[in-house]
């Protein structure tokens, strides 16, 4: 096995936990991956922030609980839209109510899990839970702007990207590689510049324009 890079050893010697260094260094890789998913594959998700932060939430909760939480939050978002539609209220109060409902549901889940002797979820620190709960705002905003169906598709894309991000970030080989060759992270810069200049069709657009492609001569 290769030895840890001198600079990483220096960071750790200064009191920064290795886990933190490793996560901070893997962040650019995940961000670049999300950019790739958007520009080349055409998966939009909820921008770059949401899939990134959800990836880290997944890392904290574990993928099983992470996805379960994600699905629950989205389901509650959908249900509360139906419930709140009749009220016809302004945006922020509406999101606040939705957040309240999500918080209650999660709390109920933790309690129910505890009662059934499944404390895995309750043992999770509060921050990933909060991240997942606030996800609902993004979802509600998208519902209002682009409709239920689009919001659902984007949520699904976010989940997929975050899951891929999760597996990427918890891949031992990558973690070791980053600690041995931290400078390699700088490679994400030219990759992103290339992605930013990429003007070809996205993979999803081949699907979107399939009828046009059939007819063009």
């Amino acid at each position: 096995m290769n030895s840890t890079h001198a600079i990483i050893e220096y960071f750790v010697a200064q009191g920064v936990p290795l886990e933190t260094v490793s996560l901070l260094l893997v962040l650019p890789v995940i961000a670049t991956m999300i950019a790739f998913f958007r520009q080349v594959l055409g998966m939009k998700a909820f921008g770059i922030y949401t899939p990134l932060i959800v990836t880290f939430a997944f890392l904290a909760t574990g993928i099983k609980y992470g996805i379960a939480l994600f699905v629950i939050v989205i389901l509650v978002g959908m249900v509360s839209r139906v419930l709140l539609r009749k009220l016809r209220i302004l945006y922020l109060p509406r999101v606040a109510i939705t957040l309240t409902i999500v918080a209650f549901v999660i709390l109920a889940l933790l309690v129910a899990g505890g009662a059934m002797k499944r404390t895995g979820l309750a043992a999770v620190s509060i921050f990933p839970l909060l991240i997942m709960i606030t996800l609902v705002e993004k979802f509600v905003a998208t519902q209002i702007e682009k409709g239920n169906q689009t919001a659902l598709i984007l949520a699904l894309e976010t989940m997929i990207i975050s899951a891929v991000g999760y597996y990427l970030a918890s891949w031992e080989m990558l973690k070791e590689f980053i600690i041995v060759y931290p400078w390699a992270i700088l490679l994400t810069l030219p990759i992103n510049i290339l992605l930013g200049k990429w003007t070809g069709l996205r993979l999803s657009e081949y699907l979107r324009f399939r009828e046009v492609l059939k007819r063009i001569t």
Binding site: L201, R202, V212
Partner: protein, 468 residues
Amino acid sequence: MRMNMFEFFLKSQKILGMNSRNLNFIRSCNSRSAKRLADDKIMSKRALGKGEIAVPKLIAKIASTEALDKFDWTTLPGGFALKPNRGFGGEGILVVYGKKKNREDAWVKADGSIVTIDDLKNHIRNIIDGSFSLSNTPDIAFFEERLQLLKLFKPYAYKGIPDIRVVVYNKVPVMAMLRLPTKDSGGKANLQQGAIGVGIDLASGVTTTAVQGKNKIIEYVPGTRLLLSGIKIPYWKDILQLAVRTQEISKLGFLGVDVAIDKERGPVILELNARPGLSIQIANLAGLQERLRRVRGITIKTLERGVRLGMDLFGGEIEEELEGISGRKIISTVEKIKLTGKNGVEVEVEAKIDTGADWSAIDTDLARTLGLAETIEAFDARSLPYDKLKDMTKEERWNVFKDVPQIVSTIPVRSAHGFTYRPMVEMTILIEGVSLVTKVSLINRSELKYPVIVGKRDLGRFLIDVKK
């Protein structure tokens, strides 16, 4: 297989994707200030009005909750449209058609539901709060005159006004579509919400292919037998000119102009779009990238020239498309055809396309030039009065004529001199590049305008356009 991949790659190069649109067109052609103008409906209305372009008239605007409280509701007419100033995708638009009978504080929507002042206030508060604006920033609500639906569009549009999107680049209109509100789209002319987009031939302003929603190619208005192709958009050239003029005023290099046609005022500009969507390519089943590439870098001096170029470059595809769909050529009622006779003699001649005749016929003089003189003479020498021939069996009749050179059969025809039997011979006819081997009758047509008629039997591979 490799060839196919390469062809596929070339095809995909003709389509404009999101990446290319953003980087090559929006980023490089549309300045920030121009985009700001396009995103601000009141501002663009004012700028266009100054340029003497017809826009729906502004009735009133409400920028704050204080203004909302003080607003005098009696100033509103019976019909109006309430819109968010910086809305997008047709969201947040409320249209009423008239005041509720015997009530001063209520209006009626297209679906018959009632809108009260309280409803309006609520909606306006939502607008001001930014519920419908880009990135939820606080917004202004405004009332504008309601446009009146053109009779022509009535059967096609569901509770709303169709509009025409024209994409303009470098002063040239490059692609256009008609957007029809449907039940699915809730009366909104927005494709994402399920409206219909119908491609338009730029030269003629006639609709071609259609898509509903994101990807469903359709031919008819859903639930009806109403064809979506072939609708002739009125004021077509005016619309294109308005679109180009709008581009000049807005200073957007690449934009989508939304035009509606009012029953009384004619074409009016509804709004500008600095980030035109890509679905227009599906409605037209054509690639935008290729069209933009052809227009890029050309210096267009005048508006008329730009419109002309757009019409010439991106029009006239209807015929080819129809031909593509049906696999049949379109011909007019008179066509130049080529006949190939005995010994390969070729004659080019104008023929009448006659769906009233079963078989094609050619004039005897023409037949002589085609080397069929012998046939005609031999036939006439053996010919008998019609009554006699008529009563014979087919075999008996054939026995009379079978020795005539080239003859393949006989046919009874009615001419100015009554009924007669005429000979038929084999002939190769070339019409619009289609070569047919068929049999034609030889008849004296010297008194008639065209020496040849082409009949039904030979027209199976054609569509006839009487206006061509």
